[in-house]
């Protein structure tokens, strides 16, 4: 007996596996194909920058500093040698403080939300016990938690940590529950008839099947962690990007405020890219992610 799959079948499968869909390109587009998206991506910010420049430069009354001042401030924050004030060469301290809170809070959220989400998604009694409470707590904005956090955790980094945790927690939890609940029932049957039953299914079926959804939650959660870092650092901490933004605001050092915003934007973006890269490796099997 020939055990080989038919030739045509093999052919199509091999094609699907090895070739990427052809990139359609028309003549009018022109230019280097790799440079094009980059050029397009920077066009808009450049236009914005130009607008900002012409709207603010040579206007002594402007409350918003022109881009060049912000650029100078950014350099001074990072390397010093321009203003030589209390903020010079302090960027790494604030960045590190914020990053430790962002990633610390995020990792803690992940460690709590992932198992909890799997349990809520799969175990009925736990869902009935906890889910209604969570649905009510979820719409409460992180900012609303600020006063309570300061009472419970005191002024300082612990409150900041808690608020970042809260910001990252819900997206991870909600997406984990969703992922776990939408596992195809057929896969449980398949696993059971192959001898994988009971709690073993958690790791061998539920977790991998829910991974694309969990991954979405992780991405959103990390994004939110960066979003709430400024609020989190309004709790009276001395260091952190949020802390210097709030402090500079009181001193009317708007160029520091904008510098802080830019740094948060850039590092938030880089951290998202890192997660995406990880996702691409982890979800190579998924047709919607690979």
């Amino acid at each position: 007996m020939s055990t080989l799959a038919s030739d045509t079948e093999q052919q199509t499968a091999r094609e699907q596996a090895t070739t990427r869909p052809p990139v359609r390109r028309s003549f009018s587009e022109g230019g280097s194909p790799r440079l094009r998206p980059v050029l397009l991506a920077i066009t808009f910010p450049l236009a914005l920058l130009a607008f900002w420049h012409f709207a603010t430069v040579n206007r002594p009354g402007s409350l918003i500093p022109p881009p060049y001042d912000v650029w100078q401030e950014l350099q001074d924050l990072a390397f010093g040698g321009i203003n030589d004030d209390a903020y010079s060469r302090t960027l790494h301290i604030h960045l590190l403080a914020s990053m430790s809170r962002v990633y610390g809070g995020f990792v803690l959220a992940l460690v709590v939300a992932l198992p909890l989400g799997m349990l809520i998604g799969r175990v009925k009694i736990i869902r009935q016990l906890i889910d209604p409470t969570i649905q009510i707590l979820r719409p409460i904005p992180v900012t609303a938690w600020l006063p309570l956090a300061m009472i419970i955790f005191g002024l300082g980094p612990r409150s900041a940590f808690f608020l970042v945790f809260l910001g990252a927690f819900y997206p991870i939890l909600v997406n984990t529950i969703f992922g776990v609940r939408s596992v195809e029932p057929r896969l449980f049957e398949a696993a059971a008839m192959l001898g994988c039953r009971g709690p073993a299914q958690f790791f061998r079926v539920v977790l991998p099947a829910a991974l694309p959804s969990i991954f979405t939650g992780v991405r959103l959660g990390l994004g939110f962690a960066w979003v709430v870092i400024v609020v989190g650092e309004m709790t009276g901490v001395q260091t952190g990007l949020g802390a210097i933004i709030m402090e500079a605001r009181q001193l009317s050092r708007t160029e520091i405020v904008i510098s802080g915003m830019i740094v948060i934007g850039v590092f938030g973006f880089l951290s998202d890219q890192l997660v995406m890269l990880l996702g691409k490796r982890l979800l190579a099997w998924s047709p919607s992610h690979a």
Binding site: T3, L4, A5, A13, A17, A191, M193, R197, A209, P287
Partner: protein
């Protein structure tokens, strides 16, 4: 001495609750499968053939009567009864190799044993060049090969197939029918195969069990005495075709009337 059948259904019935109403999916079914037999269940939709198969798999428990394997009541799914689903039921996050190795791994085989087993069955279904691909990269026919290999690699004695080729194109279906017969004749497996295609049933089965709807039940049984390999163009094959078609058509007419 009486030989204990590999599978026995004794007066099995199954009632589902649907929107507060009781639906009788299967009623008073008696079926006996000897080891090594190839049985096809055929019938119109709603005749309970899939329910019967799911009872044999242990995915459902009978409302009345009992389902036995080797004389022991079937309590839940078990590797000795492997199911091949129409929609494949492959794990999308595992490669062909790991899908086939899933069963042996679940049962605590060593790494070496798992590798040997998976290699053997990947070879058997002709997927050696595709062992490291994921299911979404495979054609329907190849996915179904993986599903079959996965069940065989886990030492199933009884293979339950629920319209396994229903979603495939005609060419691929014929090819897989050949391969399944081939594997079956070499391994001495017992196969319970659900289909709604008359030709498929006659081509594959030692015995065709005709089921009828409303409520789902076993109507009649026919031992197909054609010698293998079977020629679907022969006069005898055609006679069987006519007989079963008229049998199934009468159910249809009765149901409609």
């Amino acid at each position: 001495m009486l030989k204990v059948p590999i599978l026995e259904m004794r007066n099995v019935g199954k009632t589902f609750a649907q929107n507060g109403r009781a639906i009788e999916a299967l009623w008073g079914a008696n079926l006996c499968a000897k080891k090594g037999e190839f049985i096809c269940l055929i019938g119109a939709s709603g005749c309970g053939k899939s329910t019967l198969l799911r009872l044999a798999a242990g995915f459902e428990t009978p409302t009345t009567g009992e389902a036995l394997m080797w004389g022991m009541p079937i309590a839940g799914p078990d590797p000795s009864r492997g199911m091949v689903f129409q929609d494949y039921g492959l794990f999308p996050w595992l490669t062909v190799r790991d899908n086939i190795g899933f069963g042996p791994r679940s049962r605590g085989r060593t790494r070496q044993e798992i590798k040997e087993t998976t290699d053997r069955f990947i070879e058997l279904v002709g997927l050696s060049n595709f062992a490291d691909l994921y299911p979404h990269q495979l054609s329907g026919g190849m996915k179904q090969r993986v599903a079959i290999a996965r069940v065989l690699a886990n030492d199933a004695e009884l293979v339950l197939m629920d319209e396994p080729f229903g979603a495939l194109d005609a060419m691929t279906r014929e090819r897989l029918q050949d391969e399944v017969t081939e594997i079956w004749s070499r391994t001495g497996l017992t196969v319970l195969f659900v289909t709604h295609a008359i030709d498929e049933a006659i081509f594959l089965a030692d015995r065709v069990v005709v089921m009828s709807p409303g409520p789902g039940r076993i109507d009649s049984e026919y031992a197909i005495d054609l010698k293998r390999p079977r020629d679907i163009a022969s006069a005898e094959f055609n006679e069987w075709r006519r007989l079963l078609a008229s049998k199934l058509h009468s159910h249809h007419a009765r149901k409609a009337g």
